[in-house]
């Protein structure tokens, strides 16, 4: 009897626990932010439609914000009249002019942003106001970029998301939507070939082809929210963010003052800006691809020095290539040259350093680096030659051994025959 009562009690307890769980889970669902807007708008066509999938990938939605956060109204109301009532603060379509300030109402509020992402800056709007975009926006230019033009609206994703329009690999394309559109940019009188040029550049190759997110894109040099074209005096400062040593050497060179006097931007004068090609040793000197002859005349002191620097670089590059070829040949013959190959890396380092030192535009300084590299290539070349000599020696040794062994074999054969004939 007691057992039966125990069983009934146990069942009752289990039922209570289950009921409590159901109630709690129901409350939890109810407690989640309700967004009734999607009930209708997910079924509407563009531009009023926002699919549930698009909305679910929106960073704001993921942080628990509803449509009402920007559009106002009451997203928890099932009745459209109530949800979109002016009394509930419904704003409807946001006026383009109001967008920066609307975004700033949260994104410039440090207290509020801390709840979502304490690491996120809150000076975007301040920066925007200093940008060309922001200044024109302040003057009621309705065409310039506002937040949503770059970041998107309902499909807005975090910049770290590779699908975001402001992910480093997508930024150039995002900027090009306006800046490569000649018709759209006509009123501003600026070029629209920047994106086409950038696509040809070494930076685009690094960023998009090789996926190197540290490579520069539009915002790296121009800034993002405070986007502005760097002035002539600032170009070196922009490039030096990454190309530190080149910039330091340029600062010490005679070109710095001359360029400043002539009103030429530092790095861009030789390397161009958006279409920066992979630099080659041919860029320096007086050859057909040399940029020095843009200012210097063949025979003048500058051109002579440029030619000397070109020769130093090409001499080292050729010595490295010759050493690599020899070591590669020796290695293919089965010779052990790994130490020499390791040493050859020092010569390549010296060439890399020399190509940086070029930016001081002093051949004596460059010679120090190229001489260091040439000293290494002399050693690696000698190691390669020694390996090839050794390889030849082994061949000769093998030949002599085979002859000696053949003689012994013939001798043994004759001896055995003689022995067995007795």
């Amino acid at each position: 009897m007691n057992r039966v009562r125990g069983l009934v009690t146990w069942r009752r307890r289990a039922g209570l626990v289950l009921a409590a769980l159901l109630v709690c889970s129901g409350l939890m669902v109810f407690a989640q932010t309700k967004n009734s807007c999607l009930d209708c708008h997910s079924n509407l066509p563009e531009p009023l439609g926002v699919s549930a999938e698009t909305y679910s990938q929106n960073i704001h939605a993921q942080k628990g914000l509803t449509c009402a956060a920007c559009h106002g109204g009451d997203a928890s109301a099932d009745d459209p009249e109530k949800a979109m009532s002016r009394a509930a603060g419904w704003k409807g379509k946001i006026n383009r002019k109001q967008i920066p300030e609307l975004c700033a109402s949260c994104h410039a509020d440090a207290e509020r942003m801390k709840k979502y992402n304490p690491g996120l800056r809150v000076d975007q709007f301040q920066q925007y106001k200093t940008s060309v975009h922001g200044m024109k926006w302040a003057k009621d230019d309705g065409k310039v970029a506002v937040c949503t033009d770059c970041h998107g609206v309902h499909d807005l994703r975090a910049p770290s998301d590779p699908r975001s329009t402001v992910h480093p690999t997508n930024i150039a394309t995002t900027c090009s939507h306006c800046h490569a559109d000649a018709e759209y940019m006509k009123p501003y009188g600026i070029k629209t070939d920047q994106f086409a040029n950038y696509e040809q550049s070494v930076h685009h190759d690094a960023m998009v082809v090789r996926g190197d997110l540290s490579a520069p894109t539009c915002t790296t040099c121009h800034g993002n929210h405070g986007a502005t074209p760097p002035g002539v005096a600032n170009v070196t400062a922009v490039c030096s963010n990454c190309h530190v040593f080149q910039a330091q050497l340029f600062e010490t060179s005679q070109h710095k003052d001359v360029f400043a006097t002539m009103g030429l931007p530092g790095c861009v004068t030789c390397h161009s800006n958006h279409a920066i090609k992979h630099p080659t040793d041919e860029m320096i000197g007086t050859g057909p691809k040399a940029v020095c002859t843009n200012c210097h005349i063949v025979g003048d002191a500058g051109a002579t020095q440029a030619e000397a620097m070109h020769n130093q670089l090409t001499e080292l590059a050729a010595a490295i290539a010759a050493s690599d070829e020899l070591l590669g040949r020796a290695e293919r013959q089965g010779m052990e040259v790994s130490q020499a190959k390791l040493q050859a890396a020092q010569a390549r380092d010296a060439l890399l350093k020399a190509r940086v030192t070029v930016h001081a535009f002093r051949d004596s300084e460059l010679k120090r680096d190229t001489d260091a590299g040439l000293a290494v290539t002399r050693q690696t070349h000698a190691a390669g030659e020694k390996a090839m000599e050794e390889w030849k020696f082994r061949r000769v040794g093998l030949g002599l051994s085979v002859v000696a062994i053949a003689i012994v074999l013939v001798g043994l054969g004759l001896y055995i025959r003689n022995l067995e004939q007795k």
Binding site: E336, L398, S401, V402, V408, L409, L412, Y415
Partner: protein, 362 residues
């Protein structure tokens, strides 16, 4: 007056049974028939073992075991030591030829039925020697401490770990810990240069003593032929006739080793990096390829058992059968079990196919 040579000889005769040995050597005969050339394989294996001992001793003078030194010391041997490249390349090539020759010797003995009574112990010692040679190969492979040897040893030591109960202790014993480290290197080095050579020397001594005691085996078919037609029986003296022929074969092997070392010096590879990922398509040495490929092809579950474990157990059974093979055959001299060479043929074919498959498979 006696010449100095005679004096030395007389001195030796009084202190060493030189004449007895000479008499024994001259008395010993080697049967001469259409399969006599198979007799050279054992001697050739012995010669290659001698080459290994000699070149191994030379390498010991410069080799330094240790994760920080092993690769560099082999590199030093290959580049700085006079003829170091030759010694190391000959050691590596000779190791491979030795295993090949040991297998060839095994199958020649098997097909000529030389394992029959009273040579069962000769066969058993020979099989144990083959296992030892594989042990030499496995332990020596890690010693240069390059990427290939590192990961091959890693894979190789994981295989016995599949054996139930003793698997994990075996893995820990072979590795000297959980992973392949400098401890594994010094451990395998100890096996390679001390324990295995000591055991191998004893077994080779026993193997040779048994061969000397019982003489060369004559295949059953030839023996039957000689019994019916005794006039056909032919023999040559072991010394000097057979020894000189063997010497010729050794010279050819020496030339081959020299040519391989000079034309295809054994690669040094890249120093092992325990933190790097294993290179794609890593494979063991060719003599483990058939086993490796078989284990790769076995389904994860077979006959309700773990596939890999079943494969390892099967190889264990094959090894045991190989060891005890003479005791499975009949004692009657001319009425041997026909399934034995048949099975050996199938096994040889399987090993060859799987080795080639393992070689070409990616």
């Amino acid at each position: 007056m006696a010449s100095p040579a005679n004096s030395i000889r007389q001195w030796l005769d009084e202190r060493f049974p030189l004449d007895d040995l000479k008499a024994l050597a001259q008395k010993k005969k080697v049967p001469l028939h259409r399969y006599s050339y198979w007799y050279f394989l054992g001697g050739m294996t012995l010669f290659l073992f001698g080459v290994q001992a000699l070149t191994g001793a030379l390498l010991l003078m410069y080799y330094r075991p240790g994760a920080d030194e092993a690769f560099e010391s082999v590199q030093f041997i290959m580049t700085q030591v006079q003829f170091g490249w030759l010694v190391r390349s000959v050691h590596s090539w000779s190791a491979n030829l030795l295993v090949f020759m040991a297998f060839a010797h095994l199958f020649s003995v098997l097909f000529l039925r030389s394992y029959r009574k009273p040579r069962e112990l000769t066969w058993v010692s020979g099989i144990l020697l083959l296992f030892l040679m594989l042990g030499f190969g496995f332990s020596g492979y890690l010693l240069p401490w390059n990427t290939l040897s590192y990961f091959a040893t890693k894979v190789g030591t994981e295989i016995p770990a599949q054996i139930p109960i003793i698997g994990r202790p075996v893995l820990l014993f072979l590795r000297g810990g959980e992973d392949i480290t400098g401890s594994t290197l010094t451990r395998l080095y100890g096996f390679h240069v001390a324990i295995l050579p000591a055991v191998a020397t004893l077994l080779i001594g026993l193997h040779l003593a048994l061969i000397q005691w019982f003489g060369m085996s004559v295949p059953p078919g030839i023996e039957a032929e000689w019994q019916t037609r005794p006039e056909r029986k032919r023999e040559i003296r072991f010394f000097p006739n057979f020894v000189l022929r063997e010497l010729m074969a050794w010279y050819v092997a020496l030339g081959l080793l020299g040519a391989l070392a000079a034309l295809f010096p054994w690669s040094l590879g890249v120093k092992a990096d325990p933190f790097a990922s294993a290179p794609a398509g890593i494979k063991p040495e060719w003599y483990f390829l058939a086993m490796f490929q078989t284990l790769k092809l076995i389904p994860a579950k077979l006959l309700g058992m773990d596939g890999e474990m079943l494969g390892i157990l099967t190889f264990g059974v094959i090894g045991a059968v190989a060891l005890l093979l003479p005791f499975l055959d009949q004692e009657k001299p001319f009425n041997t079990r026909r399934w034995i060479p048949g099975l050996a043929c199938v096994f040889l074919g399987y090993m060859t196919v799987m080795t080639v498959y393992g070689w070409v498979a990616k």
